[in-house]
Amino acid sequence: MTSLLLRFGAPLALVAVFAIGLLTQSTPASATLAERTEVGIGYYKTNQLRMAREVLGDVLRVEPSNFRALYGSGLVEYQDKQYAKAEAFLMKALDVKKDPEAYLTLGAVYRSGRAYVKAERVFRELRQDPKNAKAAYNLGMLMLERGRYKEAKDELTAYLRIEPAADDKIRVLKKINQIATRMKEAEKKK
């Protein structure tokens, strides 16, 4: 009987000891929805778009009106040049919260998707805030693309006035000089 108990019971006793030991250990907590959103944004920031789309998609399935996940998804699609999808996500995000950054991204999406009129409307709306340097810059670049040099020059100049210590100051100054040259050439042709 003892031998039977030993043969059948001893291995299970060992298993039981470990099972109890492991049960007393706290299990690592899984990520909250907010944390998962940041993970998704992290994947976007590190250019791992497939993972970012997957994680943010999971968040949106649970909470369809999560602003940060919607905005993040918009950024992912924008980065992936899926402008229609990016527009849809950003519009939904803006329905949840009127965020100037998200609106600016929408303008950038329009600009990249060559919806110039919509882009201009977005940037001009944002320019109503005189301190919005990014809107000035984006509007300036849009105007440059459209060949509207004077407006481009004014907006880029405004950008440097608002952000005198901008990291890209030298590059923008060069751009302004180029625009001035082009304007003179255009005048000569006339």
């Binding site: 060992l14 298993v15 470990f18 492991l22 993970v39 992290g42």
Partner: protein, 620 residues
């Protein structure tokens, strides 16, 4: 046949399908260490698949009226292994860092249970032995073929470009480029040494099996494969593995055949077929050596203390010996080597770490017996040694195994252990799993298989108990532990990339998540300190460093603490931190250069303020 018997047979058939998958599938993913603080794909696959195997075999035996986990009854090696497992549990409770110990203990017991379950499974039928050897051959072949293509520098990256990004095949091809671009054989194991260690375990087993194959063509094919494996093994240029293979081969011959060896050799030489076999073996050896032996010969010629890998190991072993002295009987607890090592390194080499050792972070002792003594103490070391000695004795006296197979098994395990004197093969998931199955092969059939002993009503009760206990344990190990830790690894990877970008909210959130899901948090904390400095949260960085001393932070964190203190204007403390780093790391190393630069600046500022304390001036 009762219904219970029928279920028992079904579970047997299912486990027969499961075992080859368990051995082969993880080999298709890039491997990382068992003891890592997070779980990677192969390990999660092994834990999930192994857990399922344990459950299926255990329930199958219980249904058939046999004791679950009862194979190899009467084997002393098995009891000593069980004792070792229990001891791992005991030391985990009293470990230096229990949280860290339990992570690894959970993995350890799963591997042990898988080994025992394979033993149980093998005892159900002799034909299963062939299937297991064939699966081990498949594993060796996968690694060998990949290794060979890496030696040939096949353009894996170019091929990966034709495969959709993010798919398994894409990641697989990209992971192979690591070896293919440098012409190094690493298989899917991440390092040539890991591949060599796996192959030195498998090659002798396959060699032993090839010797007893009856079909002539199969035998020739097997020897052809063995020549290919030997070529890749040499191509890894792993000295410890190659040396271990030769030495353990000689020892295994002596152990299995003893003085009769010479008589057998004479007998073989006497026949024409025997001479042909010897001749073919000699030609094969010469060809393999001529084709792939160059790099390893030149590596052996560089052998000496000036050799970086030897120099770093000597320092590592010195530190390990000092660590054994701290807790000689009970050890620091399994998985605790890494955490204790940094502090001990700074203590034993306060006058400066030798240059050869500065490039290696000593996560492992690079000597399995020493690491076992550090983590499990003398008791654990003796249990392990006893288990291995009895395993060799029982394998050699296992009459159900042919002599060549006994020889192959003893040789393989010996070669792995010999290479483990310079590396850490028992910490590589695929190798560790293969080892457990090889150990099971040695013991299987060494004792008579028991007839069912439980009457039918008791079988039902017993099966329920087995299912609940094994299910609880394996659910805890594989699902509640391994999967979150797998996620933790991904968060850590992401956190590392983000830390290089900025120290913003996303970075800190991801790092916090990695810290929480990994339990053993050293690497994450180190990154978090750096991220907090990047985010200009200097107070938090210093507080995190000071509060995490017990976790065994790496010396790199001291640099970031110094940076934070410098920014906070705590110049003397910053100077002391940089001074410690500059002393520990010899001139020319990155930390020495960076710390010295900050020290010069701080010294100037402190001199100007007239605040430089004499103690610091004297130090430099």
């Amino acid at each position: 046949m009762t219904l219970l018997d029928r279920f028992s047979r079904w579970s047997g058939a299912f486990s027969t399908l499961l075992l080859p998958l368990l051995l082969l599938v993880p080999a298709l993913f890039l491997d990382v260490l068992v003891a890592d603080t997070f779980k990677t794909t192969p390990e999660v696959l092994i834990l999930l698949g192994g857990g399922l195997m344990v459950l299926v075999v255990g329930i199958g035996r219980a249904l058939g009226g046999l004791p679950a986990l009862g194979g190899g009854t009467g084997s002393r090696a098995r009891w000593l292994m069980a004792g070792l497992t229990l001891w791992v549990g005991v030391t985990s409770v009293f470990a230096f860092n229990a949280r860290m110990a339990w992570i690894y203990a959970a993995t350890f017991i799963t591997y042990m249970l898988v080994g025992q379950s394979v033993l149980d499974w093998l005892e159900e039928g002799r034909e299963r032995r062939r299937l297991l050897i064939a699966s081990l051959g498949g594993l060796a072949l996968i690694q060998t073929l990949i290794g060979a293509t890496q030696l040939l520098r096949l353009p894996y990256r170019a091929w990966a470009e034709h495969v959709p990004g993010g798919s398994w095949l894409h990641s697989f091809l990209i992971s192979l480029t690591a070896g293919a671009e440098t012409g190094t054989a690493i298989g899917t194991m991440g390092n040539p040494n890991y591949l060599a260690e796996c192959l030195v375990l498998l090659w002798p087993v396959l060699f032993g099996a090839a010797l007893v194959i009856k079909s002539r063509w199969l035998k020739v094919t097997m020897f052809g494969i063995l020549v290919l494996i030997a070529g890749v093994l040499l191509g890894t240029s792993a000295r410890a593995a190659a040396g271990g293979l030769i030495l353990s081969g000689l020892v295994a011959v002596w152990l299995v055949w003893g003085a009769e060896t010479i008589a057998y050799l004479r007998q073989g030489w006497a026949s024409a077929r025997g001479r042909l076999a010897f001749g073919c073996a000699a030609v094969a050896m010469v060809v393999v050596f001529a084709v792939a032996g160059g790099p390893i010969v030149s590596k052996f010629q560089r052998l000496g203390t000036s050799d970086e890998s030897i120099g770093s190991r000597l320092v590592n072993w010195q530190v390990a010996v000092a660590m054994i002295g701290d807790r000689p009987i009970q050890g620091a607890g399994i998985g605790n080597y890494k955490a204790l090592n940094t502090a001990k390194l700074a203590e034993t080499h306060s006058e400066g770490i030798p240059l050869a050792a500065t490039k290696t972070r000593f996560a492992q002792a690079h000597n399995e017996p020493l690491q076992a003594l550090v983590e499990l103490g003398l008791v654990g070391g003796l249990l392990l040694l006893g288990a291995l000695v009895f395993w060799v004795r029982e394998t050699i006296s296992n009459e159900s195994l042919s002599k060549p197979l006994q020889f192959g098994l003893v040789w393989g395990v010996g070669a792995l252990l010999a290479s483990g004197l310079f590396g850490f093969p028992l910490h590589i998931p695929v190798t560790a799993l293969a080892l457990m199955t090889v150990l099971a092969l040695g013991l299987a059939g060494s004792r008579p298989v028991l007839a069912p002993v439980l009457p039918t009503p008791w079988r039902v009760v017993y099966t329920a108990v087995v299912a609940v206990l094994l299910g609880t344990l394996l659910w805890q190990v594989a699902v509640k532990d391994a999967l979150p830790l797998y996620a933790g690894g991904r968060y850590q990877d992401l956190g590392e990339k983000l830390t290089k970008l900025d120290g913003g909210e996303t970075t800190l959130t991801v790092l916090s998540l990695a810290e929480r899901t990994q339990r053993y948090r050293v690497e994450v904390i180190e990154k978090k300190i750096r991220a907090l400095v990047n985010a200009e949260k200097f107070d938090e960085a210093v507080a995190l460093y000071d509060g995490s001393q017990r976790e065994g932070l790496g010396l790199g964190s001291l640099y970031w603490k110094g940076r934070a203190l410098q920014k906070l204007g705590r110049k003397q403390e910053a100077y002391a931190a940089f001074s410690q780093l500059a002393t520990l790391f010899p001139e020319g190393t990155d930390y020495n250069k960076r710390s010295s630069r900050h020290m010069r600046r701080l010294k100037k500022e402190l001199d100007l303020e007239g605040a430089a304390p004499q103690r610091l001036k004297e130090g430099h």
